[in-house]
């Protein structure tokens, strides 16, 4: 990280740890999660899909039912409250699929803060609905044309802007990535997903699941649901990356499967890079998974073998998307469809009393244009 922002990071770290111990802060955070975001989200037994697959019992953690349509709001509420506590009047954020951008614009609107969202030009094209939502919510959306014009470049540009406005601006990071304390802080604001899941499955089934599965881009929804299960060694944690057109095509975003250790955005982790450390172009049908790195704590979970990381192609994700729409009447985000696709591959081979939880991290409304185009339908 550039020296210019080091003191701001140190200050943020101190404030975050203070807030995390402050009962008033925690109470306020929980209040907004409940009254404003609609938590707890249900842990839904997908009975139709379970019967169709004929194996393990499939549960869906319905993060898609959150206000703004994805898990992103959990973290935004925490960070916006922290920004407010620190007296900041302006927030900036990067966004890929636009879910974090919409969530940040929402939080900023409610707390009366100025808001700027950095988004790659390519993602603006793919996610026009979310771009419009951010504008309606009063945020300024800044198109990023540098590099590959996707999430990575949006992070670069948001950080550059942050460096220039460090005194009065709070950077709301959208995933468990970036310099410390962001990966820790975002994890702690997302662990509510796993805490609820653990409690709900114990209530419904009286035991822990055999598998917890979630998609991984930067890794916030997966870290959020994994974290409270880390000490439960019998629970297998599976992160699903985007294999795009296939792992051997060079058109994917599977930084765990195909990456190597490197430093980007202030973190050391697995990155998709060439032998001289130049970050490579990544691809996925889903804009939210389209990132050349992964949160450093995921890299640690991979190295310690506590979690396993696999990948799912565009086509497999699309099939899972269609299947969930038809069998359960739930339109999932393309990101979440990756996790779901792996669960659908796995479930038929498991015993009927095995429990599998999939984090349905977001809803698919934002992807309808993309899907319609693939189906050749004009809407």
């Amino acid at each position: 990280m550039p020296e210019t922002i080091m003191n701001a990071l140190i200050e943020l770290e101190e404030e975050f740890y203070k807030a995390a111990e402050d009962e008033e802060f925690i109470k306020e955070y929980r209040y907004y999660l409940k009254e404003y975001c609609g938590r707890p989200t249900p842990l839904y037994y997908a009975e139709n899909l379970t019967k169709k697959l004929g194996g393990a019992k499939l549960y869906l953690k319905r993060e898609d039912l959150n206000h703004t349509g994805a898990h992103k709001i959990n973290n935004v509420m925490g960070q916006i409250l922290l920004a407010k506590r620190m007296g900041k009047k302006k927030v900036i954020a990067e966004t890929g699929a636009g879910q974090h951008g919409v969530a940040t614009a929402t939080g900023a609107a409610m707390f009366g803060m100025e808001c700027e969202i950095y988004m790659g030009e390519e993602d603006i094209r793919r996610q026009s609905l979310n771009v419009f939502k951010m504008k309606v919510l009063g945020a300024k959306v800044i198109s990023v044309t540098s590099g590959t014009a996707t999430l990575k470049d949006a992070v670069n540009e948001a950080m550059r802007s942050w460096v220039a406005s460090i005194e009065d601006t709070f950077y709301v990071m959208g995933s468990v990535v970036g310099p410390h304390p962001y990966p820790t802080m975002v994890r702690d604001f997302q662990r509510v997903i796993g805490d609820e899941t653990r409690e709900q499955i114990l209530e419904k089934e009286g035991r822990l699941p055999g598998y917890v599965i979630a998609c991984v881009g930067g890794g916030s929804n997966s870290m959020g649901i994994f974290y409270p299960f880390i000490e439960d060694k019998a629970v297998k944690l599976i992160g699903v990356e985007a294999a795009g057109l296939g792992l051997d095509t060079g058109k994917h975003a599977a930084s765990m499967a195909k990456g190597s250790a490197g430093v980007l955005h202030g973190m050391m982790t697995y990155l998709l890079q060439d032998e001289e450390g130049q970050i490579m172009d990544v691809y996925s049908i889903s804009a939210g998974l389209d990132y050349p790195g992964v949160g450093p704590e995921h890299a640690q979970l991979k190295d310690s073998k506590r979690a396993e990381y696999l990948s799912i192609t565009d086509i497999e994700a699309l099939e899972a998307f269609g299947e969930l729409c038809r069998t359960e009447g739930i339109i999932p985000a393309l990101e979440s469809s990756h996790g779901l696709a792996y669960a659908m591959k796995l479930a038929p081979d498991l015993a009927k009393d095995e429990l599998v939880v999939v984090n349905l991290s977001g809803r698919g409304d934002k992807d309808i244009d993309t899907i319609a185009k693939i189906m050749g339908v004009g809407i």
Binding site: M1, P2, E3, T4, I5, M6, N7, A8, S146, G147, K152, D153, N156, M159, R160, V163, A164, S165, I166, E167, S260, G262, V263, L264, H265, G266, L271, Q273, E275, E276, G277, Q278, I279
Partner: protein, 262 residues
Amino acid sequence: MNRIDAAFDRLRKENRKAMISFITAGDPDLDATVELVLAMEQGGADIIELGVPYSDPLADGAVIQASSARALKAGARITGIMDTVRTIRKQSKVPLVFLVYYNSVFKYGVESFISEAGSAGIDGLIIPDLPIEERKDIIEIGDKYGVYLIPLVAPTSKDRIQKITENGRGFVYCVSTAGVTGVRQSLNTDIKEYMNIVSGYTKLPKALGFGISGPEMAQSYKAYCEGIIVGSAIVRTAAEAETRETMIEGVRSFVSRIKEVL
């Protein structure tokens, strides 16, 4: 003696300030880099920074980002840049410093990168995204191969300045303003006060960079520091030239106009 120290010693005796110029290695190609370095030296540059192009130059503004992208597209690689440094060293004794992002050094292998850079003729490294907390090993490895790790301070550094400069080598790169590199019309920092604060912590020469557009700004800030760093304005001059000849001559004359006031 490290060529950077020698340059500041000489300047002190001459009662002049250092002109530190920057170009991206490999933009538009590595042959041009050799010619541009020699032209800048001829124009009066006392120290020359060579940017190692990177895919994600977080500390750079639009001008240097574009330059970095052009260099990568033209095929600049670290091995080729090391060769270019060797070629320059056959013809010049000007102090050379790499401006390199940490991942390039890390992925190449920290010790391999520094030893190769040192033997090719590099005198120092500026790593703009590596904070003091992560610098210890590199300072030590640099000392082993005679390559200085140049410390960076920013107007927001405050109480960190002491720690940053106490293990400093060569000079202190004083980032002029909160923000990224790029040509600016004016600086919003009180440079006099900022430089005074830095001087309170270190005897190292202070070089002011980021946003300095040309001779006028160099003139107004030179009293407070021992060197002026100009990057984007030079890169832009080179990029706007229509022919190779006018590019080389344009950069030489731009550098000499700044050196004249220092």
